[in-house]
Amino acid sequence: MKLKNKFSLVLLSLFFLMGTSSCDFGSLNIDPDNPSPEQVPSNLTLVSSQIQTGYNLGAMGGRMPGIILQHFEGFDAQQVAYTSYVIPDITFDNLWNGGLFAGAMKDNAIMIEQGVENGNPHFVGISQVLMAINLGLATSFFGDVPYSEAFQSIDNLTPAYDSQETIYVTIQSLLDQAIVNLSTSDDAQALPVGNSDVIYSGDTAEWIKLANALKARYLMHLSVKGVDANVVLSLLAEDFVEPNVPFGSAANNRNPWLAFSQDRTNTMIVAESFASTLESRTDPRASFLFGRDVDGVPLFDAAGTYWPQGNVPIPLMAGEEVSFLRAEAIIRAGGSDADAIAAMTDGITKNMTKLGVSDEAAITAYIASRATFDGLTTADEKIERILEEKYVALYGQGEAENWVDYRRTGFPVLTPDANGDNGLNPGGQIPQRFIYPAVERSTNVVNLDAAISRQGGELMNVTLWAFQ
């Protein structure tokens, strides 16, 4: 072949290339390391959703209401400002993003959809329970939140917000559906749940009890709107087993209180008012909840405290909460004081046991002085006592529920922070809600503004629908 011919060939091939509209690169643009959605069954995503939900409750979703409700106060860094209710819109970006909507709730939405398609009703039911818990947390912080238009991917990039009233209906409906799905027989499952469930190991009976107890919790949330206490009572099982989300001490699976203690040392302490209240009641749990340093500063993570430890799980719903819900429901239903006191005693005892209090005499003395309605006459006073004790018992494991209780009843009575009047919390009272995360302002502003105007504002002095 002559040189010129060869050259023409080269040129020809170049022009040939120019003319083509695509070039085949095979699978070069397929991520070689991460699986496609079709490769990942629900039993490899359920654990992500469960751990994330536990972390939501024990990290931001625990500390922030804990600071508002004066279990804790800031000692340094951002937590000092939070104590004075300087809680700007960016504060909850992380919880909203990786914790709730694009975190556990996304996992649940996917498992519900896949479970329906693939015939895995148990996965669907568990996911519905987890969805209800996360949705409950979200609405208790922010009121109106997206749900009915959410998780639709490209089909709806700016989901509208559902009113809080609708959200509470949705929660009940999710739990009802969960019970139906969890009641299907084991034979009806294409994929058994088994040990991919790190909470109940696939025991659907326990999940059903939890779903019912949660129904009770969310009915009680609406006590201001009116609640049928007998229905609440009917939903609370005597043999409730705590849905514990397991944690450890390694960085990739740390108990959230331990993680905060190690990663943000000394930025948050136990509120002095809470510490001294426990001490004045000679509550034997005091030394399991805090320890004072040389200057008397009450540290939440002093040696011997219970919550900031590896291997301490975070319950999705504390056993104590079930007892106290029962106690309150008994009073609201006009039941006997004795029954209510028994339920309250049960809650306190469970908590003492959990924390490791072994001084029986001290326990007995405490119960004798606190688990009583002596001198209390009205139902309100009795509920106040029940909620005061619930407030102590849910320390570390039901902070968000304590805040709901406060907002629906005003109990326990608290004094707002002296420097709490600021641009974000006009009036300086104990906050009624959190400001929507900044991320929604940058990505979904039209629907956000609609939700804000529907609720009469988003600053922390605005009362949520549920508590109006």
Binding site: V40, V86, F101, N419, D421, S442
Partner: protein, 1064 residues
């Protein structure tokens, strides 16, 4: 496709066999027409062939030519001369220097050498010598203030720290905007692995290049200039030509250069030394010591305290602090820990090179070794570079060349940024009543374990290990890297005919970056503050590039000159990243993965490939009008499989106006130019399909959230980005006009450029409402624009006898705006924190600083609350613009005989930097501002109440009766509002000062030593700025697209250096 490539390759080999012709030897000397000095490195080419040589250090050359042949003498920055060889055997030539000449030769895309006058777009070259003289470890820093249109920001003064470079602003959002670096025709990686807001000072990989090897560097700015590189050069290109040997006759020279530089910290924030550790409690400021873990310096005045003399107090043998009168009468002492910490860094840089050739072989081999220690004790960086460039003239027609550059680099990195175990974070928060160094400073304190560790192994620090003592950080928080890199290429140049060349070039850039280190166990007594961790990381990257070009050059008579280039390019990249981490060390200070309680692993691969075909046609008419039209079509693997092709054209026109006007003494030269071009850029890989990823917990932000397998179960979740199977390339379109003119017999020159570029369909991961279940979606939705002016001015105001004064000024103005984002999206963060970030906001400058601010009414007045304090706006907004209004590099050079003094001033006007550091040290009460102002009482803030009436309520800045939360610098939260920490980062600095002396040639009669140059170089010796933190030339996130953030960044340096260059 691969077969096609192989086919192309084999053709080149088929062209080897050609005959030799009869020749005679011609020798001569090339000199500078102005100075009479000999000119080394001038290429001497036999016209119409690829055969040639280069003059040696004395300007001598020797070449075999046949009678009647024409020799072309070419040198960058010089007028090209052509001389036809008759019967003579000696041809001496003198060339005109470029500042006095117009036929300057420059390197353009894909290594083509072109006369500058023929270019219809702006490019600018920097000589290798100017890069070496800067005495910068990082080549990118050496370019600072030397090229118009280029903005360089070093991330810090730490050894090996990265520097970002932008040519004409940022055009892309998802892709990095660093230009393409091309070394001898081969694109190389300028990746920065691991950049982020925390961690360590990382390197950008161009730091691996040894500036001593560089012959020249050309900056290609717009699409018309870079079109042939295609989408890879969508942010401009830096074309580096390394030194090569001389073919033609036996010659050799040895060059040895050694330099020593001392570095010192050049600017630090002002720290207070008058108030003690502590906080308000019970209505007064009380002292709280290190054992309490107290973080604040809101304690009593140091002057009101004395020691109690209790020698058993482990933190200070003088005892605890008590009010005057209650102790032993020894007054309390305070220290400026910040000033005490930094030490003098040193850099030794040695370069040895051999350069020469024989009749048919030319070679350049070099060995370079640089060893740098930092101003942060124990930090260091080392680079060893070996290069061999060999060229061989196989025959009259065929020339081959090969280059290999092996580099070993790495060191021990300085911890920095938002890193609780970082250097500056612990240092600047340290209270003045605690001496981190225990009486010692700098290296001495770092070498004395007593300063940072107690005998029981627990840490000695001002707050009992909550933040690390910085001397502990230097010793116990280790991050070492070891990079092995090979960059090589092979080129074949075959002259098919006088008017036609075929060039084939294949190059490889491969590096492995191996890192190890960890964070030591931190204890305070028996309390574990941090259980310690260890890691190893291995990052490997491979670039392979192949080009085949056909080069045509043809004259149609005297009037029309035609050149054309057609070519094919194949470019592929692969990276592999493997990170192994372990937690809970068993034995302290042993960072091995065998010494951990739990281990975690992460790995990630990327891969992409690109085919490009291109053509470029240049037509010159009467050496006056030049038209250039080019087009390139890319096929990118990262686009959807069935639609992965995209085409983009460019055109430029140059018109030498001065050809039309008669020769005169005023206007020596004038050229107008205009160009228009598009360049496409394909998306990052793997964007077209959905994936699940290992569980990555979120939801907190304060803690390390759970991740990976949980309770022994493999855990996955869906990836956060919604894929896009219809993604298109983003296209940047640039229009550019320019004018070059020289006046007064070439003594003054100006090069003015105006450009306007728009990137449409810019690819972004648009943040979406998380209620969709995704974090973001990949889409072509944004629009980014750049508009700017570049002016290069040079002048020779004085020339009297041997004295010469030259001025060169580079002026850069660029306005970079985010024109639009996706509908409904208000802001997209580029880098930083949720509280303050460098962001994209529609209608705002690119990278605008987004954060918290005070409430303002419609008249812009600050709204003040009933208690007299300004209110915080519940909504974040743009609070700063980090883009400078203009940059000006101004160099004055004075030369007299062998002595030259060169002064480079660097002026930056405007551009905000967020001093996050300032907000935090104000919050903790360690800054001088808080000492000066904490006593202010009854201050009335200017502003209005919500009803519009003026504020009249007085407040106290720090009244102990109101508690900690009421203090001015604490009440708005950690670090205050973003707005309060935005500062103008304008500066004037003496970037370089060089005094050079070349020893007279008369000293070297022995013929062994040929020359000795000695030089003193000062870098950053003087800085004037109103910025309150460290040197504002800094960026928290290195080379990322976000910029203008300073959060405990490590400071910058000023340097004094001395160098000797000897040639033999």
């Amino acid at each position: 496709m691969k077969q096609k490539l192989l086919f192309c390759f084999s053709i080149c080999f088929a062209l080897w066999f050609q005959a030799f012709a009869q020749e005679a030897e011609v020798t001569g000397k090339v000199t500078d027409a102005t100075t009479g000095e000999s000119l080394p490195g001038v290429s001497v080419i036999v016209d119409g062939t690829s055969r040639g040589t280069v003059t040696d250090l004395d300007g001598n050359y020797s070449i075999s030519v046949s009678q009647g042949a024409t020799l072309v003498f070419q040198s960058i920055g010089m007028v090209t001369q052509k001389i036809t060889v008759g019967s003579q055997t000696t041809v001496n030539v003198s060339l005109q220097a470029s500042t006095e000449a117009l036929n300057e030769v420059v390197v353009t895309a894909i290594g083509l050498e072109t006369e500058k006058k023929a270019l219809g777009y702006s490019i600018q070259s920097v000589k290798g010598e100017d890069l070496v003289q800067a005495q910068e470890t990082n080549l990118v820093n050496a370019l600072n203030s030397k090229v118009a249109g280029v903005n360089i920001v070093s991330s810090s003064g730490s050894p090996g720290a990265s520097a970002s470079i932008r040519i004409r602003g940022n055009t892309s959002i998802n892709s990095n905007n660093s230009p393409l670096f091309v070394v001898d025709g081969v694109p190389i990686s300028n990746n920065e692995v691991g950049e982020g807001v925390a961690g360590i000072d990382q390197s950008n990989r161009v730091i691996d290049l040894n500036p001593g090897d560089i012959a020249s560097l050309t900056v290609l700015k717009g699409p018309a200039a870079t079109a042939l590189y295609g989408s890879r050069a969508s942010s401009g290109a830096i074309i580096i030509t390394t030194k090569r040997g001389q073919l033609g006759r036996a010659t050799s020279s040895i060059s040895f250069r050694t330099s020593f530089t001392a570095d010192q910290v050049n600017k630090l924030p002002d720290m207070q030394t008058s108030f003690a550790q502590g906080r308000p409690s019970g209505g007064e400021f009380i002292w709280r010591g290190p054992e309490t873990g107290e973080g604040f310096s809101w304690g009593p005045a140091v002057s009101s305290l004395e020691y109690d003399g209790d020698a058993s107090h482990i933190y200070d043998v003088r005892g605890r602090l008590v009010p005057v009168g209650d102790g032993n009468g020894s007054p309390a002492q305070a220290v400026n820990n910040t000033e005490n910490f930094f030490t003098t860094g040193t850099t030794w840089d040695n370069n040895l090179s051999f350069r020469g050739g024989t009749k048919d072989i030319g070679y350049y081999v070099s060995f370079g070794h640089l060893r740098q220690t930092g101003i942060v004790p124990k930090s260091k960086f080392e680079r060893t570079s070996v290069r061999a460039n060999v060229d061989a003239q196989i025959n009259e027609k065929l020339k081959i060349g090969a280059s290999v550059n092996y580099v070993n680099s790495g060191g021990t990195r300085a911890q920095r940024g938002s890193n609780l175990r970082g250097t500056m974070l612990g240092l600047l928060r340290t209270t003045p009543t605690f001496d981190n160094g225990l009486g010692l400073t700098g290296k001495d304190a770092a070498n004395n374990p007593d300063s940072y560790v107690f005998p029981d192994g627990s840490q000695r620090s001002y707050r009992a290990g909550i933040y690390d003592n910085p001397y502990w950080v230097s010793n116990r928080n280790v991050d070492d890297d070891d990079v092995n890199r090979i960059i090589g290429n092979l080129s074949l140049n075959y002259k098919v005919a006088k008017w036609f060349d075929i060039v084939y070039k294949v190059g490889v850039d491969n590096f492995a970056d191996i890192r190890r280190g960890g964070i030591d166990i931190v204890r305070s007594g028996s309390t574990i503050r941090n259980p310690g961790s260890a890691f190893t990381r291995s990052f490997t990257s491979t670039f392979i590039n192949s080009d085949i070009l056909g080069l045509f050059n043809y004259s149609f008579g005297e009037e029309v000159q035609l050149s054309a280039t057609v070519g094919h390019n194949y470019f592929t990249t692969r990276t592999f990243d493997q990170l192994n981490t372990g937690d809970e060390l068993g034995i302290p200070n042993l960072f091995d993965l065998g010494n951990v309680a739990s281990e975690d692993a992460f790995s990630n691969r990327t891969q992409s490939a690109l085919h490009g075909v291109f053509a470029d046609i240049r037509i010159g008419w009467r050496n006056m009008v030049f038209l250039n039209v080019s087009g390139r079509n890319d096929f990118s693997s990262t686009l959807p499989t069935d639609d992965n092709s995209f085409f983009y054209p460019a055109a430029s026109l140059a018109f030498t106006i001065s050809e039309l006007i008669p020769e005169n003494n005023v206007v020596s030269y004038a050229k107008a130019r205009a160009s228009w071009g598009q360049v496409g850029n394909s998306p990052n890989q793997f964007g077209t399909t959905a994936v699940f990823i290992p569980f990555t917990g979120g939801g907190d932000g304060f803690t390390t959230e759970p991740s990976g397998a949980q309770q022994g179960i493999t855990a996955f979740e869906r990836g956060g980005t919604l894929p896009n199977s219809f993604i298109q390339p983003e296209i940047t379109e640039t229009f550019e006009v320019g004018l070059e003119a020289r006046f007064l017999n070439n003594r003054i020159g100006i090069d003015f450029t105006y450009y306007n570029s728009t990137t449409e369909d810019a690819i972004i991961n648009v943040a979406v409402s998380r209620a969709t279940g995704f974090n973001s979606r990949l889409a072509n939705v944004a629009e980014v624009s750049n508009e700017g002016i570049e002016i290069v001015l040079d002048a020779n105001p004085l020339q009297i006898g041997d004295f010469r004064w030259d001025i060169i000024a580079n002026f850069t103005h660029n306005r970079n705006v985010t024109e639009s984002l996706a509908e409904g999206v208000e802001e997209i963060g580029l880098s930083g924190f949720t509280s303050t970030s460098s962001s994209l906001i529609a209608g705002q400058p690119y990278g605008a600083i987004f954060g918290s601010a005070f409430q303002r009414n419609d008249n812009g007045q600050i709204v003040v609350g009933a208690d007299g304090w300004p209110l915080q706006d519940p909504v974040n907004r743009a609070v700063g613009d980090p883009n400078p209004q203009f940059l000006l590099g101004l160099r004055n050079t004075f030369a007299w005989k062998g002595i030259s003094v060169s002064v480079l001033l660097d002026i930056r006007q405007g551009g905000d930097v967020w001093c996050g550091t300032c907000g935090i040290i104000n919050y903790f009460g360690t800054s001088q501002v808080t000492a000066d102002q904490r006593g202010i009482t009854d201050f009335v803030f200017e502003g209005v109440l919500e009803d519009g009436s003026p504020n009249t309520t007085p407040v106290d800045f720090a009244n102990p009766a109101d508690g900690l939360g009421a203090i001015k610098w604490v009440r708005y939260g950690f670090g205050g509002l973003s707005e309060e920490s935005i500062f103008d980062a304008s500066w004037v600095r003496l970037r370089e000062l060089t005094v050079k002396y070349s020893l007279p040639a008369s000293l070297f009669q022995n013929n062994f030593v040929k020359g000795i140059d000695v030089a003193f170089t000062g870098r950053n010796l003087w800085l004037s700025t109103d910025y309150p933190g460290i040197d504002p030339e800094t960026n928290l996130t290195g080379t990322t697209n976000g910029f203008g953030l300073d959060y405990f960044n490590n400071p910058n340096t000023k340097s004094y250096g001395f160098s000797i260059l000897a040639t033999f």
